[in-house]
Symmetry: C2
């Protein structure tokens, strides 16, 4: 009989990642699909994106060997229903545990069972982790209702800043690139016509895609633009506030940073790290790596409590 | 040859109104359709809604008699294109002037040529009116980018307030009605599951429909709910700020109030009127009535500069 395998998924607003490993953590398959969050993309598109990533990861693997699966995803029970059909359709019959994206991000960053995770990617959420499970959470309310300090939030405020420049003369270097990305090189008879066209263009696309403007804010802040720098400061303030809502002042577990805005060297990551370090000087700041690998590790732990964390060097050669 | 007729349209986020009159202001036809703003509803749905209202208003009227048309609508040139096809399809060949919803609201409220108009309905905008034409404007940026203090804004913040109650214990009487409207009487295993379901439900519908929660905020404020009262205060502050951005401290022309939040006796209307009166004590506060009638009057003025304002008593009996 073949060794048991596990599968881990990290499903986000802009991509879905899948990893298949054995219980020693050896990677046997990986898959990448589009955004698979049913709240952001709708149930059908989400299931298709996750299914495509699964198919890629399972290429050449007997699905009967999969004994445990963990899927990390923002959202609750309604979200689960949307993705339920993808498993039996691929011959996977083992238990599938749905956990928050925060749990897999934390698990990918550290082998510790307790601490805090702060995510800022397309969305934003802070969470307490206790025994590798979600405790308190703050924000994670989605682009319409929250996600303050996220990539969507930065992108939205970049457009607002461009309008404030055009209409009120609050100058920012964001205006030209935002204009170009929203309405191209079109010529408008009046400034008001330009503003109207930009507003119409911003409303014409799925709102969450405004997160594509977040890198413009990061770049402008690095170049010293005061409006962009203020947005970074404000975003960092929201992320810190969310973290403080789930972490006591004397907690000492690691703080895992996750999401594209915090895991690479952005001015937002720099500022958030500095403020976290000032408020919780004893905390180790760790970075989420591959959430799907974290999810696969959580699945492996459910079968073998001694399964090594992905960051552990392998104790035996890959078969 | 028959007397010339004019047609006026007031196209908003939730309804489209059409009035056909003669040059004396006698109403010969009216029509009502769904929301016809192409930014909010898309070009095709907007044209269909406006077309249906036109068809109703033109019942039994020879379209060849229509000599001037004015359409009031938030938005600019891109918006115009979406509605262009509705006219020739109905045999209307006269010039059609597209003006801002602010211009028709002001024209419906007063015969004065100069002043200020403040609209708070589904959206929100303040505008300077000079010679019955749009001067400076403030906000009107749509639900995604602005419309601060609007019905959408109140509805959005009502949902946020309900989440803050459920998650942070900031009590408000808004929570139960918002919960009931978003997820019905469903039972959830945990408070977190309820919160997730409410977030998913809010994201699942067109965002602008959140404006249907605005009356809940108005009612709760009347009943003394402190969270709702704060939202009213904040909304009034945004509307006042927009007004001050387009009206100098010494201007004396009338201030026209328009939109469902300001033309009926709501706590928001009460507060906005009090603050406008305090800041511009010399200004007459007038209420927009029927924007379509205002638009029809603007169309009549283009043919006959002495055409009577809709508020003028008729000088001759209806034929």
């Amino acid at each position: 009989m073949s060794d048991p395998l596990v599968i881990g998924l990290d499903v986000g607003g802009t991509s879905s990642r899948v990893v298949v490993t054995d219980l020693a953590g050896t990677r046997l398959g990986t898959g990448l699909g589009g955004g698979g969050n049913p709240v952001a993309h709708g149930a059908e598109a989400a299931a298709a994106a996750v299914g495509a990533a699964l198919d890629e990861a399972l290429t050449g693997i007997d699905p009967g060997r999969i004994r445990a699966a963990v899927i990390g995803l923002a959202g609750g029970t309604q979200v689960r229903k949307a993705l339920d059909p993808v498993w039996p359709a691929r011959g996977i019959t083992c238990p599938v545990r749905l956990v928050g994206d925060a749990e897999v991000a934390f698990a990918s960053a550290t082998a510790e069972p307790d601490g805090t995770v702060l995510i800022a990617g397309t969305g934003a959420i802070a969470a307490q982790i206790t025994g590798r499970r979600l405790g308190l959470i703050s924000d994670g309310h989605g682009w319409l209702l929250g996600d303050r300090g996220s990539g969507f939030w930065l992108g939205l405020h970049a457009v607002r800043a461009a309008l404030a420049d055009l209409e009120e003369g609050i100058e920012t270097s964001l205006t030209i690139p935002i204009r170009d990305k929203l309405v191209g090189q079109s010529v408008f008879a009046t400034r008001r016509a330009l503003v109207s066209a930009m507003i119409a263009a911003a409303h014409a696309e799925p709102p969450v895609t405004l997160s594509r403007f977040a890198p413009l804010v990061l770049d402008a802040a690095v170049a010293g633009d005061p409006v962009a720098k203020n947005l970074i400061t404000e975003a960092a303030g929201f992320l810190l506030r969310s973290t403080a809502a789930v972490r006591g002042p004397r907690e000492t577990g690691p703080i895992a940073l996750a999401g594209s805005l915090l895991t690479v060297a952005t001015p937002l990551a720099h500022r958030v790290r500095a403020e976290l370090g000032a408020r919780w000087p004893a905390a180790e700041l760790v970075s989420a790596t591959d959430g799907a690998a974290g999810a696969a590790w959580l699945a492996a732990l459910s079968l073998d409590p001694s399964a090594p964390h992905p960051s552990t060097p392998p104790s035996r050669p890959t078969p």
